[in-house]
């Protein structure tokens, strides 16, 4: 009698495991767990957080976890926009790195000739946001109305964006020496948590509210799954796609602000270099289909943190410079293969076999 109960329990446990593996956020959570365990075994001090002071005497938290939370912020914000774009248009925007350069350049251009006040910084950000949204709309129009494949449409700005960014500042490298401007990318005096984390958190909260209280999520998924049937149901697919690209443009402006604030200047050719690939990867790691349709915003955001966790881990273990991309590639291959629907189906079938076998043995 007691035996029977126990098998039933183990059976249900395995079933929950199987059910879990089918959940979308299983892969990002599993990846995060592996990375956490790896670091815990190799060196538990990885998780130490210290409260110290910076050179201005203000309290700041430091430690690898803080570094991860801090540096993942840009990627988290981009992942939000990239997820929406992917869902609605079934493709990715590869121009985000270049348009970040443009947004950053605009901010510096405006602030360079003005005193650094809250009003001016707000003004600079608003202009950058409008510019980024216009560039986002440019991509969006090409994709939605001219029906160009997203990767090809955004290739235009991918190629031209950094030159445009340099042109905005007449090819000069503006440097802003006022420490107030550095608050967005570093610390606000008195607050020991890095500001980019708060900015990312605000973006996450906003998008959560938007997805909860508007039809944006529903519409973009509908358009991504089947544009013609959504049109028949009264949704304009082109408009929805355009809106997602404009939202991504807004995300780009926020990231541009953080990026230029981190070092108070800009280098047009390297700022946010290759970040588009990491943003796309974050979406993929989140288990979202890059072919569009259904999405899970939380898993994309998790994906962004995993990428930064991986980068920081690799830096910590001082992986040789030349080998760094290779290590990253290996981890990415494993994660992406594991999250492929084919592999996951096989895996859940395997689990089922194991469960039925153990049930039989118990009987």
């Amino acid at each position: 009698m007691t035996q029977k109960v126990s098998t039933k329990k183990s059976g249900s446990f395995l079933e929950t495991v199987v059910a879990l593996t089918r959940k979308q956020f299983f892969i990002p959570i599993a990846a995060l767990t592996i990375l956490v365990l790896f670091n815990l075994i190799m060196d538990p001090s990885f998780f130490a957080i210290k409260l110290g002071t910076n050179s201005n005497g203000d309290p700041v938290l430091s430690g690898y976890l803080i570094t991860i939370l801090n540096n993942a912020s840009e990627l988290v914000i981009l992942a939000i926009g990239m997820t929406l774009v992917t869902s609605a248009s079934g493709g990715q925007d590869i121009s985000v790195g270049s348009t970040i350069a443009i947004a950053g350049s605009v901010i510096l251009r405006i602030l360079c000739n003005r005193p650094i006040t809250v009003a001016n910084m707000l003004f600079a950000f608003l202009v950058a946001a409008i510019v980024s949204m216009i560039f986002g709309a440019f991509n969006g129009v090409l994709v939605a109305y001219f029906k160009i494949q997203p990767m090809i449409a955004t290739l235009i700005l991918f190629t031209a964006g950094r030159s445009i960014a340099a042109w905005i500042n007449n090819n000069t490298l503006p440097v802003i020496n006022d420490p107030t401007f550095a608050y967005f990318g570093n610390f606000i005096p008195g607050i020991p948590v890095p500001t980019p984390f708060f900015i990312a958190a605000i973006c996450v909260i906003i998008i959560t509210l938007v997805l909860k209280f508007t039809t944006l999520g529903l519409y973009s998924q509908a358009v991504g799954i089947n544009p013609s049937s959504s049109r028949l149901n009264g949704i304009d697919p082109a408009k929805v796609k355009l809106i997602t690209y404009i939202i991504l443009g807004l995300c780009v402006a926020v990231v541009g602000l953080i990026k230029v604030s981190r070092i108070s200047t800009i280098n047009y050719s390297v700022v946010a270099k290759d970040i588009e690939m990491d943003a796309i990867l974050a979406v993929a790691l989140g288990g979202n289909s890059l072919g569009g349709g259904k999405f899970n915003m939380a898993s994309s955001i998790m994906g962004a943190y995993i990428i930064q966790f991986l980068t920081t881990t690799l830096f910590k273990f001082k992986v040789e410079s030349t080998a760094l991309p290779a290590y990253k590639a290996i981890v990415v291959i494993i994660l992406v293969v594991l999250s492929a629907p084919v592999v996951r189906e096989k895996m859940s079938a395997f689990w089922k076999k194991v469960t039925s076998k153990s049930a039989k043995e118990a009987a």
């Binding site: 910076n54 050179s55 430690g63 490298l173 570093n186 981190r262 280098n267 050719s269 390297v270």
Partner: protein
Amino acid sequence: MKKFLALLVTACLAFSAFACSAKKAEDDNGLIKVGIINNDPNESGYRTANDKSMKEMFTEENGYDASFAYSLKNDEQIAYAQQFIQDEVDYLLISAAGTSGWDTVLKDAKDAGIQVILFDRTIDADDSLYVASIVSDMAKEGDTAVSWLADQGLDEYNVIHIQGVMGSAAQIGRSGALDKKVADNANWNLVTQQTAEWNADNAQQIVQSVIDSGESFNVIYAENDDMAKGAVAALDAANISHGIGGDVIVMGFDCNSWALAELLAGNWNYDGQCNPFQASYIDAIIKDLEAGKEITEKVVILEEKGFSADSITQADVDQYGI
């Protein structure tokens, strides 16, 4: 509409033909015709300064009729070179994106009687194919920096070495000197050696990672100014003093104006120059050739300085900052 377009196109063609013929007429006025092939000026502060100095030198006032072409891609640059040969320029000035693949086009230039001068970067081609090359010696830049560091007389050198894009000439030259010093001396250690790919953000993360690990270090050797700036941001966040009288020596390269200003303020310790001003050297060579003189030095190595925070002056910042 179509008619209007056709009219517009014809007008454009006619205008450009007129512009061409106008140019031709100028050539006969004794201007030296040069075709300049450079890398994209947006590539870096170095390139911007380089392009600016070329544009200032090769003007009509100075007796030149210059055409500029930019690309970061070798094959596009070669195509531009072919175009310049067809345009019958007198001199072809090239800063090659890649080192190989130039033989054929340079032979064509030679056959057409065009003199080729390389600047900034060398190529893998027979040296009979060009009259001179004016280049930076990146290995020497590294040597100058490392010997300056050795002169600081620290008991122990624990260096965070932040490299540029792996395989680039600047990275190889600037890494080589430090690698050799570390291998030869027991009191020189590399705390970490990683590439930040010229990117300030990555450099900040690398230094942050070392600080988080609690290892001690007293030198940051960053292979360009941007990365040094990123590294310093990490030091500031952890309240580690740097610059003159600080716990950590900060070294950068390229001599951006803002970086030299940091030196002047005593926040950094050293900045190595990578001289972008080849234009005056090229001008001198062309003048010699026009006067019928022989070029004795085929390879001209640019003079490059290293600035130290304790001796730099505002005049240096104004003169050498790019």
